[in-house]
């Protein structure tokens, strides 16, 4: 019974990925077919540059993430996590939103870790908050933002502040509205069991074996989402001229919506997106850049695919919508009060 449901869900997510591919092929092929050989070659090399560079950039973070997650799996006892996250949901999301300070990576590295933490008993709402806030509320990203917006420190403060606010609000929304476990496979019990096993058979060799095995399994599990994400992002970056896009998105309110979509399809790493944003300082309103800076690291194309490795598709879509609405509200409010 259970496996039937699982297979059905897997089919659904494969269907989703297939549909996405079809969509892109449908959108892309007409453009490609109009090209001659030389132009096609040009597009191919541009695409290769984008695709490979996104992959290479994410690879160290992904590896760090899966190793940390595997070590956690073997070493950290469940009780520890339950001790760290306060029972009260409001305190819980607050603590979770600052956890990124302990683990400074972008979402490629964060997702495997949070997946593991949740399997080890971190409450869902805290995990969601951590996934959303982690890529922004960490020292690497904060210092990159300081550098990119030299002299405009209010950008940094409002970026971090808004990120914490949004992640907490979404975390609380999840706490109050999501009753069913939205994770792909609820393996908590088996998890607990396995770690008991690992403790009972406790020699060091065993632990290293487990860490390596988990790491290699997880590499292939997360890697496929990363590669798919990088592939599609690369396609978009190759075929949609950035400058043409930018020209569409001016205007006080449209710029916010535009920045949502722009951040989503660019799928930049949170450590470098501040530089890209700062190059729009004079062409876009400051608060719409804030939308870009807060939404992008939380939700983007690459990240959506990686989230699909943790959650069911329905929940991922729910998250995207919730985050988009809260970010929009927040940055419009910040814009209205002229904080940036």
């Amino acid at each position: 019974m259970k496996t039937d449901v699982v297979v059905y869900r897997r089919k659904l997510s494969f269907l989703f990925i297939g549909l996405l591919c079809l969509l892109f092929i449908g959108g892309v092929l007409p453009r490609l077919s109009a090209l001659n050989g030389a132009e096609l070659m040009t597009y191919m090399t541009v695409f290769k540059s984008m695709f490979i560079s996104i992959l290479l950039e994410a690879l160290p973070f992904l590896l760090l993430g899966i190793f940390v997650s595997s070590i956690m799996q073997v070493v950290i006892p469940e009780a520890w996590i339950q001790k760290i996250i306060p029972k009260h949901p409001v305190l819980g999301v607050l603590v979770a939103s600052f956890l990124g300070m302990l683990f400074p990576v972008c979402e490629c590295g964060l997702i495997p870790v949070v997946r593991r933490l949740m399997a080890k008993g971190m409450p869902l709402y805290a995990g969601v908050t951590f996934i959303l806030a982690g890529p922004i509320v960490n020292l690497v990203v904060i210092s990159a933002t300081f550098t990119a917006f030299r002299g405009r420190n209010e950008f940094v403060y409002s970026r971090v502040g808004l990120a914490i606010l949004v992640s907490c609000i979404v975390g609380l929304i999840v706490y109050s509205f999501i009753r069913k476990d939205p994770r792909k496979l609820s393996g908590t019990n088996e998890f607990a069991q396995s770690s008991v096993q690992s403790l009972s058979g406790n020699n060091k060799r065993n632990a290293i074996h487990q860490i390596l095995r988990h790491s290699s399994d997880e590499f292939f599990d997360m890697g496929k989402y990363l590669i798919l994400g990088a592939f599609i992002t690369g396609l978009i970056q190759t075929l949609v001229p950035r400058a043409e896009l930018i020209a569409i998105g001016q205007g006080e309110y449209t710029s916010h919506f535009f920045m949502l979509g722009f951040a989503y399809i660019l799928s930049l790493c949170s450590t470098s997106d501040a530089f890209v944003a700062s190059s729009f300082l004079t062409t876009f309103s400051a608060s719409s850049l804030l939308t870009f800076l807060v939404f992008g690291p939380m939700i983007d194309f690459k990240g959506t695919l990686m989230l699909c490795s943790v959650f069911r598709l329905k929940f991922v879509i729910f998250l995207i919508v919730a985050v988009a609405i809260v970010v929009l509200g927040g940055s419009l409010a910040i814009g209205a009060f002229n904080i940036v």
Partner: protein
């Protein structure tokens, strides 16, 4: 039993893929091409990743061997090991999310996802980002305000006036062979918008009026500069009037300081370190620098609608990886501009001036000397993290 063989095959394939990834990164490092894709400061992390990948690859091969050993073992004494096997598999499934794919198709799908980047990586030539990518990203000709060519073109669309076919016709007549006036929508918009604004805006110099304008502009500007430098000479101790040339708010203090230092040089060399910052400072205080001599190197970039004596000298600025790179550059005017193909690496020495391109005022270098150079080993420019003032130090 077939399950075991399957597992073995899975581990071999995984090991192979991990080895492939390892060797691809090593290959890039060996050929010194890693910086084609990511910034040099990421290189140490890449090397650590290589070690990690290599370790995982070895482990997968080890698992495959293990699987073989077990397999033979099982045949010998199937019964006694049955229990252990079940145990093994429980252990493996503990994390449940990642058991191996059940069907063949899924396995093929999964592993081919990993093989795609390897194939692309090894089979296709690694190419430096040049004009092709610049065209996709949109050339930034005004570093200080981030306005790009396409942007202004399409921005003109806002003032797009539909009732202008006649104006368009007359414009076409008046500009004659002007290659810019072709009927493609984008360009049409530019021309129409220009027509509406009542000024022929191009840098082609095909319209004499335009050229005159430029000359007038230039001379006016020269006078201004002279005045400026006079005042500088007459009151060197009076820092205030010099400072007044470089007004800054709290956000551009560093750029202003850099500008002041650059201003005092005979030839302003735009170096690789701090390329973008120098360009931004020059652009921000463009009026001060008119008539100054600039030396800059980069690759040749052209838009379709540029005239025969114009091109852009450009550099790719990279923050983290090539996905976030953007091209920056200056317009260069040189009578025999066509002699330089796109992506050719050149050094330009030229006089700093201003011109209008698609309706906005941008910097243009009137070249006095152009030399072809070798493409530098690392042709990209990166953000400058140190004090901007150090850029101007020699």
């Amino acid at each position: 039993m077939s399950q075991h063989r399957n597992m073995k095959l899975h581990y071999y394939i995984r090991g192979g893929i991990l080895f492939g990834l390892t060797s691809y990164i090593v290959y890039l490092v060996q050929l010194d091409k890693l910086h084609y894709y990511i910034v040099p400061r990421m290189a140490p992390y890449m090397k650590l990743s290589v070690i990690a990948l290599y370790m995982l690859a070895l482990y997968c091969i080890y698992l495959a061997w293990q699987e073989k050993g077990k397999h033979e073992h099982t045949r010998e004494s199937e019964h006694s090991h049955e229990h252990q096997h079940i145990h093994e598999h429980d252990d493996h499934n503990c994390s449940c999310q990642h058991e191996v794919p059940r069907s063949k198709t899924k396995s093929v799908l999964l592993y081919s996802i990993f093989i795609v980047p390897l194939l692309l990586g090894f089979a296709m030539p690694d190419q430096l980002m040049g004009s092709d990518i610049a065209a996709v990203k949109g050339m930034n000709l005004s570093a200080s305000n981030g306005a790009s060519l396409q942007q202004t073109k399409v921005a003109d669309l806002d003032s797009f006036d539909v009732q202008v076919p006649s104006v368009e016709g007359s414009l076409e007549a008046s500009t004659g062979s002007d290659p810019k006036v072709d009927l493609e929508a984008e360009n049409k918009a530019t021309v129409e918008a220009d027509a509406k604004a009542g000024a022929t805006v191009d840098i082609e110099g095909s319209g004499d009026v335009n050229q005159d304008d430029e000359v007038v502009d230039q001379s006016a500007n020269e006078m201004e500069t002279k005045n400026a430098s006079n005042s500088l000479v007459s009151s060197t101790d009076d820092d205030q009037s010099f400072d007044a040339l470089f007004p800054s708010d709290q956000y551009s203090v560093e750029l202003a300081e850099l500008g002041k230092l650059l201003y005092q040089k005979d030839i302003i060399a735009v170096k690789e370190e701090g390329f973008l910052e120098t360009l931004t400072s020059l652009d921000l205080y463009r009026d001060n620098f008119i008539g100054k001599t600039i030396r800059i190197s980069g690759f040749v970039y052209r838009e379709d609608d540029m005239s025969e004596d114009t091109f852009v000298i450009s550099r790719m600025a990279m923050q983290c990886c090539s996905a976030d790179a953007s091209p920056y550059g200056f317009l260069v005017q040189w009578d025999d501009a066509n002699a330089f193909e796109k992506d050719k690496w050149i050094e330009v020495i030229g006089t700093f001036g201003l011109t209008e391109y698609n309706g906005i005022e941008i910097v243009q270098l009137k070249a006095t000397e152009i030399t072809t150079i070798e493409a530098p080993n690392d042709p990209y420019v990166y953000p400058y993290f140190d004090d901007f003032v150090k850029i101007a130090e020699e």
